[in-house]
Amino acid sequence: MPTIESEAQLKALLTSLSGVDAVGAEARAAKLSTRSIKRSTKLAAIEMAISMVDLTTLEGADTPGRVTSLCTKAMRPDPRDLTVPSVAAVCVYPDLVAHARSVLGASPVAVASVATSFPSGRASLNVKLMDVREAVSSGADEVDMVIDRGAFLSGRIGQVFDEVVAVKAACGDAHLKVILETGELVTYDNVRRASWIAMLGGADFIKTSTGKVTVNATLPAALVMLEAVRDFAETAGRTIGVKVAGGIRTTKDAIRYLVLVNETVGSTWLTPHLFRFGASSLLNDLLMQRLKQQRGAYVRADEFSGD
């Protein structure tokens, strides 16, 4: 595991990484999208995906009532069918963590909190760290931080790295997901470099997006991140997870991501320990598709609760 002692050293390491040919990366992602996943594979994939969902609500208008509904659904996505797995986690703003914790009680569903002045990350490091500490002390099991894209895009990668390290320290026992905001990084070369900065800084997961910008998770961006995670596991011996978030609404999309994981890093990563979907409406589509597989007919959206 390379120890980073200076920005110059980090720059040298990042420069030594291979570039990404955008046309090739997009072609690879598109080709993997043509995999035909049917029947028992599809059902297994749907259940796998359900167990990987971080059920998310990140709105200014969130209330305890909203969070209660969300948590209830997270624990029991389909109250009439208890064989449906619970989701991996709920994802909320820091000031709603305590309430989520109290609703979830002893359930295996984790509480993930966004922090570090999500989604923009535009605040002093002190403020961002305070944000993290409050989330953790309120009971968050996982923290989803954002990297400073302004610092990254202006070349201050040492600062980006230092912030990841500081946030990781502030997390204590909580697990850290580092949001790269791939839509703002724009190029795949940037996505690769940002992935490495996050992983070297101590991330447990790297995450595509906040879901709050125009371009969120895309298959090619996820592909580049999965390749980074694979290469990092080989070089540094640490296994880091990937979370895709924002704009993933359908079962078809979710399965495409699972195929990507399967054929890039392999089946070791096909577990909520190492792969997550940050989503809200995706869950219902997964439930609908699961029911359709079982019943053999298309079902109505109203079969399932709205949240």
Binding site: S18, D21, S40, M48, S51, A110, D141, H175, S267, L270
Partner: protein
């Protein structure tokens, strides 16, 4: 990890269930005749032979064996159609026929893809996503030239050659038919097309499409048969132009046989493409590109990147990743939508691949072969990579035409170019680097008709394709592709 996690014993694997396309979509008939003068008819001798599915060795349909009399009839029909109808058809009209054919291919694309996969052995994903769309695009592209030949750079009023005899190979049956027919018809010629012996079926469905398009009888004639049918066509005195795609060996014979005749000739022959990888190549996309270069279409590609020339400084890392990636290739039922590598087209071709691969081992190269399970019936060869190959090895010089890659190294750009050019072939090469100036420097010096930079096996109707030296002469695709069919 937090202990608040769901334990699920089902997680951690994603085995793909079979996802087969239905063979019934092909709507194959039990037997097909020769398509001459706008209708199907038996061969004069009534002789037939079976076209076989290489994935399971089962007979798909019976097709006619065209003899000398049938070839004669086909050429006469093409000549009549040329003299009386096609040479009097305006460019605008020819254009619309070609657009109709293109649209019909698009409409019947699923059926054609299944036929192609059944007859050739290539994965349905490739027939569906590559072969058929490219075939339609070729007709669209040349349809658009038919009414504007005066702008093609061959003079104000370029004339066609007359009757074209066209002999195509088995590796991209429908696409090769499109590559031959579309420019010939656009330029105003009539055609006699001889599909490959082992893959006649998609051409016969194309004949049905030509009927649906109401192409005047005789403008295109499609005659199935073995090598003797092709020879009769090559020798026929009333053919003005021969276009051949196939092995260099046969191409040589054709050139000899037509040397003293008036016939115009274009040849698209074999190759031993060099895929050149520099240390600054974009690594993941490059691995995919090498894989695409040699395992796409089971390596049955004249322009296959069958030699990997990798810069010595990164050779070990590239080989490691390559071998890892080869293990992931899904080899099996071509009709399964998740299959990456299909069947070898024939027992004869399988034998050739095995022979040359055995040489690789005996010459001292290091062999890595995928551990994939191969089906019991059918013609199969597991993807194979040979490392530590020397320039003098047979597997570095001879075209294997199968899923076998030979890996060699180089130290400098100059050496890469020298090694790449050290062959009698000159069809295609690949160059992988993030440094544009170097890529262009290398491309300028490579003696190849097609050079791919940071990609491989990309085809487009607008892009001229063809070889240098013993890979043949003449170009197909693009504005340049018209030249072969015009009297200029």
């Amino acid at each position: 990890m937090s202990d608040r996690q769901l334990a699920n014993s089902q997680l951690g694997s994603l085995e793909y269930d079979p996802a087969p396309e239905s063979a019934a979509i092909a709507r194959l008939k039990p037997s097909y005749g020769l398509f001459i003068d706008g209708a199907f008819s038996d061969a004069d001798s009534h002789e037939q032979f079976a076209s076989v599915n290489p994935a399971n060795e089962e007979s798909l349909a019976m097709v006619a064996q065209a003899g000398a009399l049938d070839v004669d009839r086909a050429v006469a029909s093409a000549r009549r159609a040329y003299d009386k109808v096609w040479s009097k058809t305006t460019g605008a009209q020819r254009s619309k026929y070609l657009f109709r054919i293109a649209r019909l291919i698009q409409e019947r694309s699923r059926e054609l893809a299944v036929v192609e996969t059944l007859d050739n052995g290539k994965p349905i994903r490739e027939s569906r996503d590559v072969d058929i769309p490219l075939a339609a695009a070729h007709f669209f592209y040349y349809g658009g030239w038919a009414d504007k030949l005066e702008h093609a750079g061959f003079g104000a009023n370029p004339k066609p050659l007359g009757v074209a005899g066209q002999i195509i190979p088995w590796n991209f049956p429908l696409l090769m038919a499109a590559w031959k027919l579309a420019p010939a018809l656009a330029a105003g010629n009539t055609c006699v097309l001889k599909p490959a012996e082992t893959t006649p079926l998609s051409a016969l469905v194309l004949a049905e499409i030509l009927e649906q398009a109401e192409l005047p009888p005789g403008v295109v004639n499609i005659i199935t048969g073995d090598g003797s049918t092709g020879a009769a066509l090559v020798d026929h005195p009333d053919v003005d132009k021969i276009a051949f795609t196939g092995s260099t060996e046969v191409g040589r014979m054709i050139q000899q046989r037509t040397a003293a005749s008036h016939k115009h000739l274009t040849l698209e022959l074999g190759g031993k493409g060099a895929n050149i990888v520099f240390e600054d190549a974009p690594i993941d996309e490059m691995i995919e590109g090498i894989i695409d270069g040699i395992f796409f279409n089971q390596g049955h590609v004249c322009c296959a990147g069958s030699r990997l020339l990798v810069q010595e400084s990164v050779a070990d890392e590239v080989l490691r990743r390559l071998v890892r990636r080869v293990e992931q290739l899904r080899v099996g039922d071509p009709l399964d939508k998740n299959t990456d590598v299909g069947a070898i087209n024939s027992a004869a071709q399988l034998l050739r691949i095995r022979e040359l691969t055995a040489f690789g081992e005996s010459e001292g190269a290091t062999r890595y072969t995928s551990s994939c399970e191969l089906p019991q019936k059918g013609y199969w060869f597991a993807p194979t990579v040979f490392a530590d190959v020397a320039q003098s090895h047979r597997i570095a010089r001879e075209e294997i035409f199968g899923p076998v890659l030979s890996v060699l190294t180089f130290r400098t750009p100059e050496e890469a170019v020298t090694k790449a050019n050290n062959t009698n072939y000159g069809l295609a090469c690949g160059v992988w680097s993030e440094k544009g100036s170097r890529t262009l420097w290398v491309a300028e010096r490579l003696r190849a008709g097609v050079i791919w930079a940071n990609t491989y096996n990309r085809f487009d109707a607008t892009s001229p394709f063809g070889g240098m030296r013993e890979s043949g002469f003449g170009r197909e695709g693009g504005r340049h592709g018209l030249e072969a069919y015009l009297d200029v």
